[in-house]
């Protein structure tokens, strides 16, 4: 376990950097909402920033960047199924004939 202590110090430095980045990105999120944009690009940009923030939390706070393959496998399928539940109804909505 003592080998971990060295790792922990490195981790802590990373945590502080991520913390500051997250706060900065939060301000960015709010700032870009003031820009004049149509809904499409606005949504895309907002989601992009949110994804970057979420990735920082997931990779570094949740240690996902150094996690095991099995966890990646589980999460991979989860993301895929989430896309199904999102895109399936949207696609049927787009292809709707009757009410």
């Amino acid at each position: 376990m003592s080998a971990h202590d060295v790792d922990v110090d490195k981790h802590v430095r990373t945590y502080i950097i991520v913390f500051v980045s997250l706060l900065a990105l939060t301000l960015v999120t709010v700032a870009i909402s003031y820009l004049e944009m149509t809904t499409g690009p606005a949504v895309a940009l907002a989601l992009l920033v949110a994804t970057v923030k979420a990735s920082l939390v997931a990779c570094f706070f949740m240690h996902l960047i150094s996690e095991r393959k099995l966890i990646y496998l589980v999460l991979g399928f989860t993301v895929l199924f989430f896309l199904f539940v999102l895109l399936g109804p949207l696609a049927t909505e787009a292809n709707q004939v009757g009410v």
């Binding site: 399928f77 199904f84 539940v85 399936g88 109804p89 049927t92 292809n95 009410v99």
Partner: protein, 601 residues
């Protein structure tokens, strides 16, 4: 490798003997919990079936008073003994809900899964025993809520087990209780699935690689993933429908909805189809939850009673994984009539046709396993053999339903009811009976009577077909589901109305046929032929444990040396070689069996 046994298992041998409550109600032992699930679910299967037997009176003799029982149910349900349509709808919705969520799944997964899986992988218990106990209790109290809903003003849920909005949004109080009950049930399932997946991955005995797992464990593994990932959208939908009913939201209420001549005072802007998408996103994988454990049980019983390895183990494994994955992309075949365009209809029709392939592979492998076999016609094997053609009929009748053009005629008719009941009733339920007859000796140390078993089996098989086969004809004739009078008031149904009588009498016959089973179940606990560890001369790990197994299951932790179905090995005198027995050619097996670290990338 030391293990910190610092957490306190409830049953360490130097603690004083726990009291009744701690031992039987608040147990953390997977076997006790499995039996809790088993007893509770069997009671609910009988209760749910009784609701149907009541409905079948109304279907065979619409508008006629039911002798004796009819008068007991009160004026709000059966005034003068005659069933009200509202009560018929309650019976229908609750029959479906109870059979699926309080009966079959808790029995197939909660009971069989909990009891057998840790034993079959050589583990002392599930990975999270206290979570396991919590799962059962959440199920139990959810079940209480469902039963209580019958006594709510306006009665129980009555909008089908599918609870479609907007009808379910405006239905009486019982629907709110249904939604709360479902949230309990879903939570119970989620907790259970986390336990199953972790247990199967982490607690396999040394030497038990994934490709040496009994097919039953593979089936439970995939089932657990279905429960884990498909249920949450229904939980989300249930919360939203609850909000619609209790907080006046309009998630599923479109604008301008008129109820009883008046425009509904809500914000509108919601989508009834959203409910359907979220519901079926769960409910389609749910039907695979209903069948996969059953296929697992059949595989075990067939291998054991043919004295041969299963045909196509690898094909079985890949097929069950394929079914699990594909089940997430077929759901809108339940929605072919909702106005989807041809593109989406074609998409879901295609995925539905594709998913039939692995299903057929599994059924074929099980049937091919019979070729050249020395079949032992034990009671579990009788149920397993009957399962095969029954599941075949169920599966085949699913095909026209999966084709969107044929579905135009068949949607929401009795054809659908016939299809899914074939799969679940003489399908899954028969498999579950096979499992009970097969594993009862392990759990109790005694055999169930073979004679009573046959008395249970043959009439059940006959009456199952008597109930469900006519449904295909009624459906083809155009008789709709959920008709309180069984089609009596429709001209197009007149020629097939006589089948209602056949079906109802078969239903009551099926009810009576369960009596030998119930008698057998209780009598054999005290009077059954006693057994030791391996009465069926089987090969999987559960048969290494005593019957019944003690806390911790295995006096000596087992090691696995080979694949799960080594029956009739050439050159051997005995016709089976268990996974857990070291053979003469296994000198290195023990050392090689310990899980090795995966090399770093």
């Amino acid at each position: 490798m030391t293990d910190h046994a610092a957490h306190h298992p409830a049953e360490e041998h130097h603690h004083p003997e726990p009291g009744f409550l701690r031992k039987y109600w608040f147990s953390v032992d997977h076997k006790v919990i499995g039996i809790q699930y088993g007893i509770t679910s069997l009671l609910f299967l009988f209760f749910g079936f009784s609701l149907m037997m009541l409905m079948r009176w109304q279907l065979a003799y619409p508008g006629e008073p039911l002798p004796l029982i009819g008068n007991l149910l009160g004026a709000s349900r059966m005034p003068g003994g005659v069933m009200l349509p509202e009560f018929y709808n309650q019976l229908g919705a609750m029959h479906g809900t109870i059979m699926v969520f309080l009966g079959v799944v808790p029995l197939a997964v909660g009971a069989f899964g909990n009891y057998v899986v840790p034993l079959q992988i050589g583990a002392p218990d599930m990975a999270f025993p206290r979570l396991n106990m919590a799962s059962y209790h959440v199920y139990f109290w959810g079940a209480v809520i469902f039963v209580a809903s019958f006594f709510a003003p306006g009665g129980a849920a009555q909008s089908g087990w599918t609870s479609y909005s907007p009808l379910a949004d405006i239905a009486p109080t019982g629907q709110t209780m249904w939604l709360i009950g479902m949230i309990f049930l879903i939570t119970s399932s989620l907790l259970g699935s986390i336990n199953f997946i972790t247990t199967i991955i982490q607690l396999r005995a040394p030497g038990l690689t994934f490709m040496r797992l009994p097919f039953f464990v593979w089936a439970q593994f995939v089932t657990a993933f279905l429960l884990l990932l498909a249920f949450p959208p229904l939980e989300a939908a249930s919360v939203m429908q609850l909000m619609d009913r209790v907080a006046g939201t309009s998630f599923f209420l479109p604008s301008g909805l008129v109820v009883s001549g008046q425009v509904l005072e809500v914000s509108g802007g919601g989508s009834p189809l959203l409910w359907q998408h979220l519901f079926w996103f769960l409910a389609h994988p749910e039907v695979y939850v209903l069948i996969l454990p059953a296929l697992g049980i059949i595989a075990e019983v067939v291998a054991n009673n043919t004295r041969k390895p299963l045909w196509g183990y690898k094909a079985l494994v890949w097929s069950v994984l394929g079914i699990g994955f594909l089940s997430f992309v077929v759901w809108a075949h339940h929605m072919f009539m909702t106005g989807m365009g041809t593109v989406m209809n074609a998409f879901f029709q295609t995925t539905t046709m594709i998913i039939s392939i692995p299903s057929v592979v599994i059924l074929s492998a099980l049937i091919l396993s019979l070729w050249g076999a020395s079949i032992r016609f034990t009671t579990p094997m009788l149920f397993a053999l009957a399962f095969l053609p029954m599941f075949g009929i169920g599966g085949l009748t699913g095909l026209p339903l999966g084709l969107s053009s044929a579905d135009i005629h068949l949607h929401d008719t009795y054809y659908v009811i016939g299809h899914f009941h074939y799969v679940v009733a003489p399908g899954t339920l028969f498999a579950l009976f096979a499992g009970i007859y097969y594993w009862y000796p392990k759990a109790t140390g005694r055999h169930l009577s073979d004679t009573l078993g046959k008395l249970h089996f043959w009439p059940s098989l006959l009456f199952m077909n008597g109930i469900f086969f006519p449904m295909f004809f009624q459906g083809l004739a155009g008789v709709s589901r959920r008709l309180w009078d069984g089609g009596e008031s429709y001209r197009h149904a007149q020629d097939v109305l006589w089948m209602n009588d056949v079906m109802s009498w078969s239903a009551w016959g099926l009810g009576l046929s369960q009596i030998p089973f119930i008698v057998n179940f209780f009598l054999s606990m005290k009077r059954g032929r006693q057994v030791t560890e391996n009465p069926w001369q089987a090969t999987t790990l559960e048969w290494a444990a005593p019957s019944p197994p003690p806390h911790g299951n295995f006096p000596v932790p087992p090691v696995v040396y080979r694949s799960p179905y080594e029956y009739s090995v050439p050159g051997m005198e005995r016709d089976f070689l268990p996974q857990f027995e070291a053979g003469p050619s296994d000198p290195e097996a023990e050392r090689a069996a310990i899980p090795q670290p995966v090399p770093a990338e």
